[in-house]
């Protein structure tokens, strides 16, 4: 059962900043630790920057949910951009199609609990993760 839910359209860097600050406030509100917050917000930042960079626009939704392991963040970012040709390759360290560090997606995978990335060429990309308060 969702305790809180935020949904936002991402179309500029300003939207990303606003979304990340809402995310941080939400996690602080439910008592996530500094490392969990830092990991969540950083992972979110990676995914949202990807939306802005590759797709131009998309949207994000995040909730804090609770299951037997306690409260956790559920984060989903979706766009209708060009899609990722090879999601597995995109998840590999130092692979970049744009000349950056190439650590974004693999980094996200290392930082969060259940990272899933699904993409269809020409349709778009959905990236989601969970992170338990622990």
């Amino acid at each position: 059962m969702p305790i809180t839910r935020k949904r936002q359209i991402i179309k500029s860097e300003t939207d990303i900043i606003v979304a990340l600050s809402k995310l941080r406030t939400m996690l602080e509100g439910v008592g996530f630790g500094e490392l969990q917050i830092s990991s969540s917000v950083t992972a979110a930042s990676e995914l949202l920057r990807n939306i802005e960079k590759y797709a131009g626009s998309g949207w994000v939704q995040f909730d804090v949910m609770t299951d037997s392991r306690g409260p956790y963040l559920e984060f989903t970012a979706t766009d209708h951009g060009p899609g990722i040709a090879d999601p597995e390759q995109a998840m590999a360290d130092h692979f970049s199609s744009s000349g950056t560090l190439g650590l974004g997606l693999p980094g996200v995978k290392r930082m969060v609990d259940d990272f899933t990335l699904s993409s269809d060429i020409g349709v778009g990309t959905t990236a989601s993760f969970k992170l338990w308060k622990g």
Binding site: E13, L35, S38, S39, V41, S45, R49, L101, L103, R110
Partner: protein, 305 residues
């Protein structure tokens, strides 16, 4: 036909043409005909109800600065009269839409609150209803006319309010941009030592700005050590890390030793989890350590008196 325009400041607005907007508001040619027919009845009354509006405005508790000056009031009154003549001419084309956008822009520029604009719209609507009630047309016909007028008013209000908020957003973005620029104070804290405390969120524009400022200051002061304190930075993701690495590389090229201070335990762990190789960049947990390194680098020691 919808063009999405993204301005340099990042605001996005939709500029739709008249035909699209009419369709969106379900305004038909029949509606426009009704407005035009009704126009013949209301046109002789426009001057009177515009006057009435300015009497109302003068009674408002706070006088808007713009209306203090009689010449301005006269000008605005003329504009408003023209607005209603245009409205009842009901010739809705792209030029008409542009005049409404212009009104939104002007209202936003002079910071005239939208409630004044809405009050003027209301004032006209009330007068239209009065005229309609006194009319001899059958009830159905009058209701259709009223609906057509209401639709066209909503159409006008939407365009004006949309443009108004767009201009206001642009102003706000400009303000926050200048705040960000002010918040990159590169300061010489000692001979040969520069420092920049970074606060907030770093985006690509800000990163470029920071790099330019830092390099300029290094060039100007010929400092040999630069401390970048990031304890106030909310997020270090791979993009921000990339910027920081680039800034430090550029510093080195100018013969200045970069030091990054203020890595909190959480941020340090996040950077490791991301897999970022900070390489040979000198980093410290707090500013005190960085300062020690810096003094060491420029060959100074701090001793107690």
């Amino acid at each position: 036909m919808t063009d999405v325009i993204v301005s340099s400041t990042g605001t996005r607005s939709t500029t739709k043409d008249a035909a699209t907007l009419l369709k969106q508001f379900r305004i038909t040619d029949a509606d426009l005909d009704l407005v035009r027919q009704f126009g013949d009845k209301i046109r002789p009354k426009i001057d009177a109800f515009v006057d009435q509006f300015y009497v109302w405005l003068a009674e408002q508790p706070f006088k808007y600065e713009f209306f203090m000056d009689d010449a301005h009031v006269q000008e605005v009154r003329t504009q408003q009269t023209k607005y209603w003549h245009d409205f009842f001419d009901a010739k809705i084309d792209d030029d008409f839409v542009e005049t409404r956008r212009h009104i939104g822009r002007v209202h936003a520029k002079i910071e005239l609150p939208l409630d004044i604009y809405m009050a003027a719209m209301n004032n006209c609507l009330e007068n239209c209803v009065d005229v309609l009630m006194a009319d001899e047309e059958p009830g159905n016909e009058r209701q259709r006319t009223l609906l057509a007028i209401a639709k066209l008013m909503h159409f006008d209000e939407m365009i004006t309010a949309d443009t108004y908020s767009q201009v206001t957003n642009e102003v706000m973005l400009e303000q926050s941009k200048s705040m960000i620029e002010m918040s990159t104070p590169v300061t010489a804290i000692w001979d040969d030592i520069l420092m920049l405390p970074l606060v907030g969120i770093i985006d690509s524009k800000r990163a470029l700005d920071i790099t330019a400022r830092v390099l300029e200051e290094i060039g100007r002061t010929q400092s040999s050590c630069f401390i970048l304190d990031i304890s106030g930075v909310a997020i270090i993701d791979t993009a921000v890390a990339n910027y920081l690495i680039k800034i430090t590389k550029a510093c080195r090229l100018m013969g200045c030793e970069p030091l990054i201070s203020g890595l909190s335990p959480a941020i340090a762990q996040t950077i490791v989890n991301l897999g970022i190789d900070v390489g040979t960049i000198q980093t410290t947990g707090n500013l005190r350590e960085a300062l020690k390194h810096a003094f060491d680098h420029v060959g100074m020691t701090v001793t107690e008196k």
